[in-house]
Amino acid sequence: MRASRRDFVKLGMAGGIAVTLSRLGPAQAASGPQPFLGHETLPQTGLGGPISGRIDGVAKVTGAKLYASDFRASDMPGWPTRTSHALLVRAHDASHVYEGLDLARLDPAAVPDVVVTAADLARLGVTVPAFYAGDLLCPVGETPLYLGQPVALLLFAQFDAYDRARLAFREGGMLRFGRETGPLKRPNYAAYRFTRVAGATPEAPDLYAPIREGWISPGFTESSGRPIWAPLPVAEGGAYAEGARHGEAIRAELKAADPAVLTLERAFTTQSVDPMFLEPEAGLAWYEPSSKVLDIVLGVQSPFEAAESVATLLGSAQADRRPARIDAKFAYVGGGFGGRDHTPFPLYVALAALFLPSRPVRLAHDRFQQFQGGVKRHAFAMRSQIGVDRASGLIRAFAADHVLDGGGLANYSASVATVGATGAIGLYDVPKVDVTTVAEHSRGVTAGSMRGYGTLQTMTALETLIDEVAVALPLDPIELRRRNALPPGGRTMTGNPFSVSVRAPEILDKLEAHSIWRDRALHQRQARPGVLVGTGVACAAKDYGTGADCSLGAVSIDPEGRIAIHSDAVEMGNGIGTALANRVAAHLGRRADAVTVAQVDAFDALGLRSSGDPYAISQAEQDAAARDPRWVPAISSPTSASIGAQVGTHAAAEAARVVFRFGLWPAALALWAIDSGDPRARQWRDAYWQGDRLILSGLPPLPLKAIAAEAHQQGGVTGAMTHAFSRWAWAEATFGLPGEDWTADIDALAVRRGAGGFIRIDRRAVAFPPTEYNRIGTAFTSMCGTVVRVEIDRASGALTIAKAYSVLECGAVLVPQVVLGQAQGGFAMGVGYALLETLPPFEDGPGNGQWNLGRYLVARGSDLPLHDLEIEVLPPLSPREPPKGMAEVVMIPVVPALLNAIHAATGHRFQSLPVTQAMIKGVLG
């Protein structure tokens, strides 16, 4: 099966267990049970209003219970009031046989009430979801598959006992290990080769491209486990052999000594890092055997997936301990950055409840445990070759080989490998490309999704290489980039063009004109004694979306003109609620009064059905399935891959358009006394909002409140609920609505009339994006460039970022302050990745349970140019340009720009990360 950024999920029943998902609203912090709000209260209607700003702002500045780690049993209406506690014990050794726990060493006051082992899970009959394949608990007598693999789940009725045990386990000595086996070996997670050979002209068809030939994998490995990339002289080579022949030809060309071509070959390695979201993973669950209901509270980026994974886990459990229903509630997320997308943590929360029935149990990582068990960024080892025509500065060919350390479990390794590989040529137009990538199993902590998602690593290697090419040619680094920038309509590595705006020339112009770049020589000359000054530049083009993205949204308006929005997107700091409110306001003339996010169960009226894998389904299967008017390729997506603005708000925006066209517009016509035969009755596209008043030229402005009241009076459409699906293009469907067949970028619709309930409207026709689009690497991209000036103390190697400027484009900006904040946060995370953060692999790394902040360094305010960081966001190309994802791209160029600046200052090119003060001091002698 093709690597996919997400596993397929279904709503309703999973493993034969009914699943409901709902959102956990904020509760005001106070002792004793508090009622949950069904929605967020906007500042205007909450404390101390009116206030502009984030719609979740009041809850976050008043300490409301908001995050999964905030909730205890006593906060949950209808639950028993006492909270029990769970401790997940993890292995710090993956080279010796695990022989069990030594609980006799525990203080009697710290002894658990229940000990859950692998044998207990086997007796219960759990089914590990395919995505998390492997033992959830290492069996006694086996060597742990990876450092940090859980070995036991300890359950405590009393907090004090739990707390004592937690500290005792951190001290060590509680796990017994026997004979040495060495680390376990497992097959690699994925190996792919992406090769493209362009035609003779930009317009000519490619001679070879993955979009046409398919994605290829060698299928043969050496005894070491590494793939054999060369085409083997056997018939089984099949499709791989043809691609490999093209790839090897590109490499041969790069190796040929052509004096007209500058050829560089460089190695670059990147480190493992932790997402270091500030709220460690936590969850709360209660299994009541009498009702056979499992209630679970979680905070994840992928609620739909988490609920279904728990259902799969327990779907074949012993009948007397198998839930009949799972009620999953999702709280706000205290940071995510990808690290809470498809994490196995919810499985352990559920198991804790199953093994302590009738008692609510809380499982919460402390920071040591989060380092030991949380998903990490992949470490990459890369070797890149580039050939550049000396006369023109045009890149002739590029080849690279990537090796990823995926750690102990597969998780997203295959997907990160392919995204990193297909992003390896950045924003450049390269006619011959050959990139191999392999994601390997190791005994390290599992690596998975994290902001930048493979391209941070590969574009850092590329952008430092481009800088080196510029020096070697020599050619101005920005001019070199300009000559090679992908033009609009140019083809990506997989052979398809981007389907969105491509604005590399503007980005480069902005960088070139900025004073940091323009005055770089002056500042270098004027450096104070003992200080080295250097300026570096870099650009990145980052994909957003996954190729199978879903959006669920509902918008309602009441007779007073108050607007409520529901969405399945998750708020993890990305401001999705505020973005929803703003995007809907463009259609309805008023910022929403209530926005509810992370809600999947509000969309039952759509009656969605799904089957198959959206990444692997055949065209024939999709065509057959699409005849069911309720079928969609997938139902709900994680909030990840920078899809919040483009995808997360799309369904709500489309719902708002329906409410306007079939509810507010007919009501407005009635108020204007325009009958259906009047030509103006068709001019709804020409109407616009000025404040909360609807304007149509030549007619009196109408207040929203009056229009809404009339819409309710008429029994018009006052609410709409939609589902949308994107496979690098939106599915488009037609629905029969009053007086018009409505065709829009949605595939399911329900509407509400007056004060009635939502009623599904079956689509009359649908066009899902063709399944061959699954061969696209990405069709969506945003671009960002960074220029940075550093000052390095020659004696100590200490680096100061004196000034920095990032310029980005992201289409329509829904919430400017959120975009700026993401860019500033991305800059800080980039600085940390380039200069500070690192986790050693294996025994010295986080899997040993001894890592925490202090030892792990992240960027603080004093590491950053807080008063000298300028962010510029290019305006959209047109008022109708949709929003584009930008949360990841803003981090990427920061890293190579810093490395290029360090080179400019010191003359040394570092080719591994992070570049620490000690390393800089080392090269300065």
Binding site: V61, G334, Q824
Partner: protein
């Protein structure tokens, strides 16, 4: 076990008997259910757990609660994020945090809010020159870790409160 009493947000708490090695963070979150004070690292490195301690001499300072035993707070008066808004009205700093989009996920906000509030109260008693404002704010907030925001808007929000009332905070 030790019995402690203290004042939290102006309300007396205790006497309550607790284990001597129970952290103040767990006392707030597990015993009292006051989860506005966050747990981030357990190593006093991120300061999302910081609360305000009001001393008898009228001075205030923040202190991390994740490694400090609760018994060390016996007899003390502290303020937490839950205690800033009064009578349904946000403080100027809370309001500016929202207006400036200072935070994103918001998990570090209680610590920044407490630190900023202590700074404002300190400046009320000892105003500073305008020229020192950026430096003083940066030094005050530097111990606090935020993974989302890049810190810029936190600093902007604190400065905005001060600049909106220069007679109170600036010399």
């Amino acid at each position: 076990m030790t019995t402690i009493s203290l004042t939290i947000n102006g309300r007396p708490q205790g006497p309550v008997a607790i284990r001597d090695d129970l952290t103040m963070n767990d006392f707030l979150r597990e015993v009292l259910g006051m989860t506005g004070t966050k747990f981030g690292c357990g190593a006093a490195q991120c300061l999302s757990c910081a609360v305000i301690i009001d001393e008898a001499d009228g001075t205030s300072a923040t202190m991390p609660t994740c490694i400090a035993p609760a018994v060390s707070f016996d007899g003390k008066a502290i303020r937490t994020v839950e205690g800033h808004a009064r009578d349904g009205r946000l403080t100027p700093l809370q309001a500016r945090f929202i207006e400036h989009f200072a935070f994103q996920c918001g998990y570090c906000t209680p610590g920044f809010l407490n630190e900023g509030q202590v700074l404002l109260e300190r400046l009320e008693k000892a105003p500073i020159a305008r020229a020192d404002l950026e430096r003083v704010v940066a030094e005050a907030l530097d111990g606090h870790l935020c993974r989302c925001s890049g810190y810029v808007k936190y600093h902007e929000a604190v400065r905005a409160v001060i600049l909106a009332d220069p007679a109170r905070y600036l010399a």
